[in-house]
């Protein structure tokens, strides 16, 4: 009883503290017009009378959980969960300030369970005028391709590695952009922001030659050069391996250079990055330097596009906490080279994510539209695309003995190593038949190594899968349409064959109603040949959208923009409300 009272008293105190923090922030936000007004009166140049602006957006995601042993659905103790956030940004001239209120009661399954409580999840003040831009507080930034630094927010995956500190952007002349950042990374949320242990410092410079030299401004050849340097600091530590105590470095640096060239219809981008010795939990505390290379060459013209990429990643996991793993405090971003798929079975059963410790990959993609009124184009034209990607392990040799303890392995070349990580070949045809009918056909072929990318617990090894999709839309009235999807996945590994059917009715611009059934009919275990039946109703008006769903959701991998998170099986009601103003 006394313990219960103590806990509730403690909660009350925490709640009061959160309210106090919220009030302080509201006071700061409310005082901004006065600060901004004071700033504008200090400016000797006459300014047009402007009003401050308040922008923002909200999301509330609610899920109710029912027990369902047939799909292994988890039911947390509260039987329901809710994630919510609201962003408010106030802008007056060059001054802006923002705050994000977050609430996890408790967090939805699949999000980090340590996110809890309600409070301020982000706050900043920014001043941008002419060629100068400074932000204090939380901010998001990317240097080049992000291989040395990328802080970003993906609320639908629970990812937020915002930097908390200072960012300065300076453009001394047209064509030159200089950036500097200094701060800690957001790690957790417990009624307030909890930052990681390390400190991140970085600088980036980019020169666009054609903007810098006026005589080159109109030339068809456009060239940009960039370079970045990022350093992290974390207080010292030691690690014992094989009876040897290793001292871990306090400061670790990553740096790189990049080149962008555009000549008429041809474009090239390339970046090369290095990382100094960075023993960490990802690489099993070895001291080997890291390397990252990303190159892309593309050519396109009206009706046709082709692109090819090559990527090489060797020991490039870079976090502000050497002991962190998975989604926690990443400083850089290493995108996968495979295409991000949109159809459900291809997107969620075997999605590929970069192997941070090392991989070598290539990909290519061709897009073509057969012209209107041609034999294959018909009245409206026909679009086709072919995409191919292959990723393997690195070509390495283990060193053995004490050298292996320190550097782990030796890299022999940039080429493929022996272990196949993924093969992804997909082909798409999209055709508008007439004003009422559209059809989309897609075929995928995957070879997917679940030992390397553990998306399933049921099978370890190479999964060979063929997926076919037929997506047909019938617009039977100007604002009424029915869309049907049939998907088939055939494989002899993992959970066996799947089929998916979807029927969606939409009444533009407000309503949509969909019913989805996924059936794992090829599962070796007869008890797991389950129908995952799910329905949802959506309503949109202006910037507000609400979706209410009910049914079974299978366990799978949910990805956005190349980052994926495992989502457990569930059965119940789901409500998703988003709005902005």
């Amino acid at each position: 009883m006394a313990e219960g009272f103590f806990i509730s008293n403690l909660r009350l105190q925490k709640s009061k503290q959160a309210m106090s923090r919220l009030k302080s922030l509201l006071l700061i936000l409310a005082a901004l017009p006065y600060i901004a007004h004071a700033q504008s009166t200090e400016n000797p140049q006459p300014q047009p009378e402007t009003k401050g602006q308040l922008h923002g957006n909200f999301q509330v995601l609610f899920q109710q959980y029912s027990p369902d042993s047939s799909i292994g659905a988890q039911v947390p103790e509260p039987k329901a969960a809710m994630n919510a956030f609201g962003n408010f940004t106030y802008t007056h001239g060059g001054l802006s300030a923002g705050v994000r209120f977050e609430s996890y009661q408790n967090s939805i399954l699949g999000f980090p369970s340590r996110f809890k409580g309600s409070g301020i999840g982000s706050r900043y003040v920014r001043y941008a005028k002419d060629n100068f831009d400074i932000t204090i507080g939380n901010f998001y930034e990317q240097f080049g391709n992000g291989m040395t630094l990328r802080s970003y927010w993906e609320p639908n995956l629970g990812i937020d590695n915002a930097l908390d500190g200072v960012r300065v952007i300076f453009r001394p002349v047209n064509g030159i952009t200089l950036k500097a950042v200094y701060g800690q990374q957001r790690f957790d949320f417990d009624s307030k922001i909890i930052n990681g242990n390390g400190i991140v410092r970085g600088a980036d410079g980019e020169v666009t030659i054609n903007d810098l030299i006026k005589s080159l401004a109109e030339k068809p050849l456009r060239v940009s050069l960039g370079g970045s340097f990022v350093s992290k600091y974390q207080s010292g530590s030691t690690v014992e391996r094989d009876s040897t105590v290793f001292t871990l470095p306090n400061n670790v640096a990553a740096y790189g250079g990049r080149l962008g060239v555009i000549y008429k219809n041809l474009q090239f981008t390339g970046e090369y990055v290095m990382k100094c010795n960075d023993p960490n939990a990802d690489n099993n505390y070895i001291y080997k330097n890291g390397t990252g290379i990303f190159m892309n060459l593309a050519y396109s013209m009206k009706g046709f596009g082709i692109t090819g990429s090559a990527k090489y990643i060797d020991n490039m996991a870079f976090r502000s906490d050497r002991n962190a793993l998975l989604f926690d405090v990443p400083i850089n971003f290493l995108p996968a080279i495979t295409r991000q798929h949109t159809y459900n079975l291809a997107a969620t059963l075997y999605p590929y994510a970069t192997v941070l410790n090392g991989e070598s990959g290539v990909s290519g993609e061709i897009f073509y539209t057969f012209k209107k009124d041609s034999p294959l184009g018909g009245k409206y034209g026909t679009y086709i695309s072919l995409n191919v990607a292959a990723v393997n392990s690195l070509d390495t040799t283990h060193m053995g003995g004490r050298d292996e303890l320190i550097d782990g392995y030796k890299t022999n070349s940039f080429f493929f190593g022996e272990t196949k990580f993924v093969r992804d070949v997909n082909f798409e045809i999209r055709k508008k038949i007439n004003k009422s009918w559209n059809i989309n056909l897609v075929h995928y072929y995957f070879e997917f190594n679940t030992l390397v990318t553990p998306v399933t617990q049921d099978f370890k090894g190479l999964v060979y899968a063929n997926i076919d999709v037929v997506d047909v839309q019938w617009k039977f009235k100007p604002k009424h349409a029915i869309r049907m999807e049939l998907q088939s996945l055939l494989t002899q590994q993992d959970k066996g064959n799947w089929a998916t059917g979807l029927v969606e009715y939409s009444f533009s611009p407000h309503w949509s109603l969909a019913v989805l059934d996924q059936y794992n009919y090829g599962n070796d275990n007869a008890d797991k040949r389950v129908h995952y039946l799910y329905g949802n109703l959506g309503y949109s008006t202006g910037s507000t959208r609400i979706m209410v769903g009910y049914g079974k959701r299978r366990a799978g991998i949910f990805c956005i923009g190349g980052v994926c998170r495992a989502v457990p099986a569930s059965n119940g009601i789901e409500i998703n409300l988003t709005s902005s103003f």
């Binding site: 308040l54 396109s300 009706g303 596009g305 897009f367 009424h480 533009s508």
Partner: protein, 164 residues
């Protein structure tokens, strides 16, 4: 007393501000497909309407929306003078496919690359597709989340209202 002060300050804040319905566009520097830096705060169309459509190469409804608008774009331009900015939120994984894809489907839009979502977040976009229509003064007069077949009818109606 503190509560009264807080309420007073908040009331003043709301009286002194505009919300998105009449707000201009936040200023973020983005690249276009030719590598030029474009300040979103300076997007103009000589006093004619502007549409801003957020999309991504991995977003199926986004591509359906923009492929549909592409069929009507010439007609809309003639009628209302509208200009469409298609802002992609593709990150480094897929952004290099944007130009080949856009050219292959012959979109005539002005494409902007929002690789770290700075602009989409400043515009309050939760998920694509999210479409805004701005009047000649750069004020948002209509917006819509998601795409259903037939939404182009509503867009056309909104553009015609601006013409009146």
């Amino acid at each position: 007393m503190k509560k009264i002060l807080l309420l007073g300050l908040i009331a003043t804040l709301f009286l002194s501000m505009n919300t998105r319905q009449t707000a201009s566009i936040p200023s973020i520097v983005l690249k276009d497909l030719d590598g030029n830096s474009i300040d979103t705060g300076k997007l103009t169309n000589d006093g004619k309407p502007i549409m801003i459509c957020f999309w991504a190469t991995w977003c199926s409804p986004c591509k359906k929306e923009l492929n549909t608008y592409a069929e009507y774009y010439e007609e809309w331009k003639e009628e209302t003078g509208v200009k469409i900015y298609a802002v992609t939120i593709d990150d480094q994984r897929t952004v290099n496919s944007v130009k080949p894809y856009v050219n292959s489907v012959s979109w005539d839009y002005d494409i902007l690359l929002d690789v770290n979502k700075s602009f989409s977040q400043a515009m309050g976009v939760n998920m694509p597709p999210h479409t805004f229509i701005l009047d000649g003064k750069g004020e948002v007069i209509w917006q819509h989340v998601g795409y259903n077949a037939g939404d182009e009818e509503e867009v056309h109606e909104q553009l015609l209202k601006l013409k009146q």
